[in-house]
Symmetry: C2
Amino acid sequence: MEFVMKPIGVIHSPFIAKDQTPIQASRSQATGLVEVYPAFAEGLQDIEGFSHIILIYAFHCSSGYSLRVKPFLDDQERGLFATRHPCRPNPIGLSVVRLLARRGNVLEIEGVDVLDGTPLLDIKPYVPDFDVRTDVKTGWYAQRSKE
Amino acid sequence: MEFVMKPIGVIHSPFIAKDQTPIQASRSQATGLVEVYPAFAEGLQDIEGFSHIILIYAFHCSSGYSLRVKPFLDDQERGLFATRHPCRPNPIGLSVVRLLARRGNVLEIEGVDVLDGTPLLDIKPYVPDFDVRTDVKTGWYAQRSKE
């Protein structure tokens, strides 16, 4: 079984090299543009009512993966699925960003953390009822985030 | 440009028909099992420290899509990308679920909202620093969620 994904657009960001790119959207104030290809633009209707959106994209610069990786925020190897490392069996990334404005098929966003030219696979509205959990434990990350 | 995604596992749930399936994980107390194929099991190390995980999966029962859809929670048509409707150009779904336990390559989860047999594409740890935003506006959904 396999699923063939084709980009619905492209994410434009200030980041052209991996080592310049913020680790996560929540740590970035950078602005960028999400260009949705005209064939899909009709699907953006009503999105301007949402202050935040979830971008789902392909980690297009990653190739191959290891099931044990050293996260950017840690000094020990961890299981890949306990990290947000970009090199994964299916190279799907997700970021929650602030939606500043929509101009036709282009979205202005804040909090971008991806490389310029990243292929966009999907956009979903960010809805706290669905996406926010409380009483959360975060394993190895909990220690690192305090440092 | 295209990206070929292959399942890394399968999600087992009590839901065998679409009309039985909860609209979102946050509205479900159902338990289920995430079976990660043995070839990828090593990547699960350290995941048991996290209370919640993000499942990324293929909406394998959906075929085709419309750029304007009537959400389950609404009575008006909305732009597809302003909804969480399962029929999308790239049929990628995501759910935040509670991780109850890990037994080898199997994860016991609570809050499952997908059909039994859903192909798993990725697992990421849920980290509020990355995934939670405050001061959020939710457009058309804000009205519907009060009803």
